[in-house]
Amino acid sequence: MKRPREVFYIGLFDSLPILRDPMLMIVISLFSFLPVLFAYIFAPQPQLAMQTIVGAIVLSLGFIGLFIAQSVYFYKYWHRFQDMFVASPVSPLSYAMGLAFSTLLGAAPATVVAFILLYLQVPYSVLALLQVLAVTVLFWLSMVFIGYTIGAVTKNTRRANSLPQVLGIVLGFLPPVYYTLDTLPPFLQPIALLIPSTNAAQLAKYYFGLISISTFEIVFGWVYLIAFVIGMGLVAVRRAHWVDP
């Protein structure tokens, strides 16, 4: 019970400011829901509007995962809490997990609202919900690893703040997350599939019954997401140091 307790209290330590002032949760929710709003107004078919809700789920979690960069940076270079935690019984894994789980709080309202909205439009099974959760958690985890690496290696406050935002836009709005893959010209589609958010969104849309994709695309999506998580995890472990070299 010692390690889960550490994770919980580090997560609480990191998320208390958001709980006290939930503005960040509102900002993230609005940010991910803006395209949904536009799609509802301008989309020619309701099916396309549904896809933007799935996009909101994927992006909310991915975007908030990247924001771990700020906690990691500020705890290491500004507050210097990381130094205090290193010189304590806290394990580096508990520290990383505590900060990671606290990010989920920021995405919680947007994600819950999106799941409810989607259920009201296209009722889905528990299995579909679990499959979508698995996909989005994998994507969130890969973004957490990227964010952790950014926070640990950058020594520049502005970069620690702006890089997650830029990456959130590049990974969330440019690839087919809010819109369908076949909207892209054929030559761009394979390139889009090299972006993890595309695979996460494709799989989520498929499990909610909004699109149909081949078995190869399903397998490719899962393998790609798992490989991406492992790859980013390795980068984070290599670049983020508990004990400085």
Binding site: R5, F13, D83, V86, S88, V90, D244
Partner: protein, 293 residues
């Protein structure tokens, strides 16, 4: 019994900066050991290596009998750190910081709350417990950081410039607390730029200069090593600083001779024993000419 042992310790950062070279010393249990040095001398590097936050690149260091690299895990539960320039989270209260630090370190809930309250009362933070740290003065914020380390009930405390930003009364309160902790058997390794702080607190001190150990011993030892003797300031009574003469006297006979001559001539005489600050400047190769001329 030595609780810290450093032997031939060196640190070269990945960029090639050599921060520590061949440093050797020991610290006994319950000792207040001060690390002095100019900015960038290597004090924080040394403290961070001993607190298991930074890897050494040469030599060996043990804390509580454990190697700082191989036995880091065993050391960490028994130490606590006040990092240099640490800042509390402005969105959290003093109580949040200190209570959660106890809980994160694994204390049972009831014990954590009692310990947090006790330390906050000792540091006179209790009345400010529910204020956000954004609403606290700089000195109170620094006390919050100190309290986060003190709640650990550690065997060794590493304090990197712990009284920076505190007013004179606040500093004295921390000094009293440090002395009490040492009396209770806690070993304190403290870096500071306040030489009066080291003079008041240190059982022993080390002066680090450009990564090397320039002096190791007591405050009196450092003053004696500087070999500056007592300065005798002689000045005409109503001179307003004009005609001021500063003489350095190394023996009692020399002092007596200067004083007799000055009094015969109707001058005012002030004896100024060498301070640690002057000894420090002498050891690190600086100059105090500007002040004395």
């Amino acid at each position: 019994m030595d609780v810290v042992a450093v032997e031939g310790l060196g640190k070269t950062y990945p960029g090639g900066t050599e921060a520590l070279k061949d440093v050797t010393f020991q610290i006994a249990k319950g000792e207040i050991f001060c690390l002095l040095g100019r900015n960038g001398a290597g004090k924080t590097t040394l403290l961070r290596i001993l607190a298991t936050q930074l890897k050494p690149s040469a030599g060996r260091a043990t804390v509580l009998g454990q190697d700082v690299e191989r036995g880091a895990k065993a050391i960490r539960g028994r130490i606590a750190v006040v990092p240099q320039e640490a800042r509390p989270n402005m969105m959290l209260s003093a109580w949040d910081h200190i209570r959660l630090m106890c809980l994160i370190r694994g204390m049972p809930r009831a014990a954590a709350l009692a310990r947090a309250r006790k330390v906050m009362e000792e540091l006179e933070l209790w009345e400010h417990r529910n204020k956000l740290t954004a609403d606290l003065s700089g000195g109170l914020r620094q006390r919050v950081i100190l309290a986060m380390a003190l709640v650990a009930d550690a065997e060794i405390l590493f304090l990197d410039e712990p009284t920076i930003g505190l007013d004179p009364l606040g500093r004295r309160k921390v000094w009293a607390m440090v002395r009490k902790l040492a009396r209770d058997g806690v070993t304190i390794l403290l870096t500071t730029h306040y030489l009066d702080e080291a003079e008041k607190l240190a059982d022993r001190l080390a002066i680090i200069d450009k990564g090397r150990l320039a002096f190791l011993g007591t405050v009196q030892g450092a003053i004696a090593k500087a070999g500056m003797g007592t300065r005798v300031v002689v000045e005409p009574v109503a001179a307003n600083g004009n005609g001021r003469e500063v003489l350095s006297a190394k023996t009692d006979a020399e002092i007596l001779a200067v004083v007799e001559r000055a009094l015969r001539e109707g001058h005012k005489v002030t004896l100024k024993p060498t301070s640690l600050e002057e000894a420090f400047i002498q050891v690190v190769g600086g100059s105090i000419d500007e002040e004395t001329s």
